[in-house]
Symmetry: C2
Subunit: 215 residues, 2 copies
DNA sequence: TAGTGTGAAGGAGTTCACAGCC
DNA sequence: GGCTGTGAACTCCTTCACACTA
């Protein structure tokens, strides 16, 4: 359906979609690129270019975009119209917290099960998720048609767990571990790394970034 | 000290630094741009260009970079040689989980205190963090010389909390809330948004991204 | 010889300007 | 008149090529 969008555009589409969902909830019917950009902190030019790339058809010259239609169009290009089956690999503190996260289903993501190496967790049900042994990953992945893995294991076992995930045929990894994973090209990793974000912050907070300074 | 680096470069420096720390721990003395790039999944060209931009001096032609020195240099450009004082705004589930996070100190970040609007939490000590009323933010921020805020409040109150943080003179926000914040130019926001990452994943997992397909 | 330092070429994404429709 | 659709200019980052030095 959709060729290749610049990854920056994909990120912005996610942002637009969020804004559109809010607007639709508030009953807004039309939105201009100006307003949509404002809410996402992107220029109107950029918004129009992004939407051009996604071959959106909900724009009306002189009036703007129809919120409901645009939202549906973006949901569709982002692949959010079908449902995605997710497993959590690593049922430590973070894994359990994610298992308890309330509304994945609101976004068409379903938590199916968890995996852990720790025998004391295997076989239990944490929150509402059944926990299996990590060695069963391949079997369960096929059986349960898993699409996505949340990787929440300790750094030391991250690559090993990744290899199992890949071998199980799962093609999407949301990586919460602060390390770079090696995967074949067909597998996509999205990092979620708050420590990296924190370090970037430190860089920007240093004096030099104080933009010429007031004085 | 350091002018302006492309934000992509800053992200990669963080990555290099992580690799260097591991190497130093393993006792590796020298590293080539090739190896450093390999571990960070970046081309050797890119590594050298990034290091060129940061005016690093630890490279030796024919041999590579001295791990220990390069690590120190990057720590310094990233602003990780001084210590940063952090508060958590929003002591819900996520805020508390962060409060319990073990080794911020290993990175020169110190958790100082938490803030919450909920009177039942104010005055308590969660984990090891004293929790104050969010309305005290300005006073405590000055008193405690806070540099950075982790924003972990519900979406609905995110902008209001941000305004308080900004008014308190805090210039760095690590934003865990899935929404775009509006802040003055002098304030830096780094988003940590796993839902956005998840949606990006969905996009890339769709058939089209399957790279021309096998068959 | 091996691998950095660095200008120059190339490519990708952003901004601009304006034509085209409602 | 107002705002989208879209090619073209521009800017920024990446890749390349190679001179340079330990």
């Amino acid at each position: 359906m959709q060729h290749d969008l610049p990854s920056v555009t994909v990120s912005r589409l996610v942002s637009y979609l969020r804004v559109l969902a809010d607007m639709e909830a508030e009953g807004v019917a039309y939105v201009t690129s100006e307003r949509l950009g404002g809410a996402s902190q992107v220029s109107a030019h950029q918004v129009r270019k992004d939407l051009l790339l996604t071959r959106v058809t909900s724009g009306t010259r002189g009036r703007g975009y129809t919120v409901a239609i645009l939202r549906r169009e973006l949901s569709s290009t982002l692949g959010l119209t079908r449902s995605w089956r997710v497993a959590i690999v690593g049922m430590g503190r973070l894994g359990q917290a994610l298992a308890d996260y309330p509304d994945f289903s609101g976004f068409n993501f379903s938590l199916i099960c968890g995996f852990d190496r720790d025998a004391s967790k295997v076989g239990k049900t944490l929150g509402t998720l059944p926990v299996f042994d990590t060695r069963e990953l391949a079997d369960r992945a096929r059986e349960q048609a898993l699409d996505i893995a949340f990787l929440t294991v300790p750094v030391a076992s991250a690559q090993a767990a990744t290899d199992l995930i890949v071998a199980a045929g799962i093609r999407g990894i949301l990586n919460f571990v602060p390390t770079v994973l090696t995967v074949p090209e067909a597998v996509r990793v999205e990092p979620v790394d708050f420590l990296a974000g924190l370090k970037r912050l430190a860089f920007y907070l240093q004096p030099h970034a104080a933009v010429a300074a007031a004085s």
